[in-house]
Amino acid sequence: MEFLTWLEQTELSLWLRESDWGHPIVLCFHAVGMGIVVGVSLMFSARVLGYSKDFPLAAFDKLFAIAWYGFAMNAVSGVLLYVGEPRRLLLTPAFFIKMILIVLAGLSVWVLTKALHGMESSPAAVGAGHRAEVVTTGAKIAAVFPILLWIGAIIAGRLIGYTIPPPPPP
């Protein structure tokens, strides 16, 4: 707690909390990163669940490479948002719920890629000149979790703003 009180008095924390532009600019990065990470993940789940079957799953490698930049952007902007209110954010359960949901969402995407790994192209489909890939039922079930967990993380994130108490006394 002493550390957090110290952190709260650093120049960076003060700037993030009190300047005109610190907070809005960090929020901008946070929103763009969210759009990229959640957007790519939602499209990936849609594809695994059977949407646009001709779109090769391997094409998501490049999209996830971009999503990692989005994630890095949100890790950095998220840490900065925390530095701005280090004690205050700990006062709402929505903050902890959001952190847990993000970890779970990330894990669920990893599980989904594992569930798809080793998947073979259907010989019938290849023979017919299609590049359609066969997705197992297990992978389809795994594809539902990222959708629910990211939406949960967004809900929890929004709830932080509505449930956070006034700043604690110094």
Binding site: P24, A31, L42, M43, L159
Partner: protein, 167 residues
Amino acid sequence: MTEAEILHWIRETSLGATVRQSRWLFATGETLHFIGLSLMVGSLLIVDLRLLGFIRKISIRSALKFLPFAIIGFLINLATGILFFAADPHMYWPNPAFKLKMALILLAGLNALVFTVAEQRHVLTLGDDESTGSFTKATAGLSLGLWLFVLLLGRLLPAFEGSTSFF
């Protein structure tokens, strides 16, 4: 009706009153606005990056199949956006970030229309590894750029509350 009367009328509609009185409607709307935004970003990344040639060896038809997600996302955000506006039209209307955001949405819509009318039929005939023309690439790049600015302006909107110009 004058501008002030129109804004007042919007504010007094039952929609505006309902949003203001409800404890959760605005927050739920914001959450849906974020989900809609994510759907748009994900879908447009696939479509525009394929058209730009950043992701290749993919049939353009299969990439364009993701477009309905952008349309669904846009409709979610249009509906929730109307809800926000009705709750507090006097905050939004003079806000420079709001005005520019609306102008850029119109431009992005126009850009999408140009692509759909002038380019879509042609790009669908291209092979999986074929590159699109520079005109198509321009519309795809514009699409990503314009929507990025729309997103940023939306997020910056509250910071301009009470101002009537950017500077």
